[in-house]
């Protein structure tokens, strides 16, 4: 299954790209509208890029009234990425989405461009879980001492799956003035630089939970996607690569099939958790 990474595609302006994905993931929606950060918002770096979009979005009211119906009209399977500044805000949005015909909710508990959510992952996921019966994925940051522990916290609180990883904070300076290139100073690093970090996070979270995982971070080719699957992802998402290549989903899907069969796997998913050698861990059961 190939998705887009949240914030890296607008299905309404590029429906032809959305139709080449198995799932369209929205940009993170927050309770109130957000204009996002002041420009400059993007900068290329060595092996990646920085962004400081700052969760620009129309807010949940306009999203539900205007954006979501138009997305559903496209006939694509929709996951809604949800963000907030406190657990009750995530819960509010999840309750609003509970009766909408969307396939899943992805809780963005990891955006590096806003001050970090006050409550811990566990509280946010638990509050969201209480507010909806929809499939819930928790999108985690790799910038924590122990990704496995964060994954376990999300699983305990009732997450059905995990998305790994979001961006990591980075800074780029103008060569001449030595001032930050981005308006807000720092931004989130994405692209090839994240690839080994995403692999390690998926590897650790699979070990710790056995939950379904969407691998995200620097995927540019089918071989990169296959590696995430081998590390324990059951699906993966394309982010930064879409900016340079809107046809990446089609290309990557073909490469994935080819790369899997070249290694003797009947299907790409036959490589699931291959990096772990032994039998898969028992999935954690929900506690509450």
């Amino acid at each position: 299954m190939i998705l887009n990474a949240s914030g890296c595609l607008d299905a309404l302006t590029a429906p032809e790209v959305a139709h080449t994905l198995d799932v369209f993931v929205t940009k993170t929606v927050t309770p109130l509208p957000r204009e996002g950060n002041q420009p400059v918002r993007i900068a290329e770096t060595d092996f990646g890029m920085l962004n400081s979009i700052g969760l620009a979005n129309p807010g949940i009211d306009r999203f539900v009234a205007d954006t979501l119906p138009r997305l559903l009209d496209l006939g694509v399977s929709v996951w809604v990425s949800v963000g907030g500044f406190a657990a009750h805000e995530y819960a509010e949005i999840c309750a609003r989405l509970d009766h909408e015909p969307i396939a899943a909710i992805e809780l963005n508990v990891s955006c590096p461009n806003v001050s970090s959510p006050e409550e811990e992952v566990e509280q946010i996921v638990a509050a969201a879980r209480a507010a909806t019966t929809k499939t819930l994925y928790a999108k985690l940051s790799p910038s924590v001492p122990d990704v496995g522990a964060a994954a376990v916290a999300a699983a305990r609180a009732g997450a059905d799956g995990l998305t790994l990883v979001n961006t990591i904070r980075g800074l780029a300076l103008d060569e001449l003035t030595l001032e930050p290139k981005l308006g807000p100073g720092v931004g989130g690093l994405s692209g090839p630089a994240l690839r080994p970090i995403a692999l390690a996070a998926v590897f650790a979270a699979y070990r710790a939970t056995g939950l379904p995982i969407v691998g995200v971070g620097g995927v540019e080719t089918g071989a990169h996607g296959l590696e995430l699957i081998a590390a324990g992802a059951s699906a993966f998402a394309l982010g930064t690569v879409l900016f340079a290549d809107p046809e990446a989903p089609v290309r990557v899907r073909e490469e994935l099939e080819r790369e899997a069969s070249a290694r003797g796997f009947a299907t790409p998913l036959a490589a699931y958790a291959a990096a772990h050698g032994g039998p898969p861990p028992t999935p954690l059961r929900r506690v509450a």
């Binding site: 918002r41 979009i53 809107p246």
Partner: protein, 220 residues
Amino acid sequence: MRRELLDVVRVDEVGPYRLLRLKRGRLESGAPGQFFMLSPPGRLLPRPMSLSLATRTELGFLIDPVGPGTKALTTLVRGERLHVLGPLGNGFRLDVARPLLVGGGIGLAPFPYLSERLGRPPAVLGFRSQEHAEAAALVPNAEVVVEPRLVTEALRPGHDVLACGPEPMLRAVAELDPGAQLAWEAPMACGYGACYGCAVEIGGELKRLCVEGPVLERAA
């Protein structure tokens, strides 16, 4: 929007700028003022470029080599290939009675194509130096203004202004002629509405320039 791997025909010197000439493939040339995303070899992100020239067999891009991406584009040689996506965004409105093209520096890039489509109207082009002003040869009927003189000093009333250039020039033009069509710039990662990186203030709100523009009827 369509993406193709195009062959480099050659790169011509035009003063300090370079004219990158590509085999056209099956890409549409689009409306003047629309742009393409060109993927420089060795860079992660593509760079937005206005279409400068279109013939039946070639697309031409006039490039100012200011940084790593534009330098990589201008050092391409015949036989090399690069990905080109486009045409993108909204170009100039061509239903104008008395067009006047107003450009500053590399902002003249879309004008050879625009001038052709508008029947070679008059143009006023401003440059930083005589060397930069060599590029004016690409635009028919152009009056050249070199700093310290500014294009705004050469503007004549009674025209429909179509302008492209650095932000201070566009603001000065808009001040003199609120009805001018202005081609703006912003850093762009995707060019097709995916990244929200190109946000600029339009009508008091931050909007995506690649979707709403780059040509806007009012000051951004």
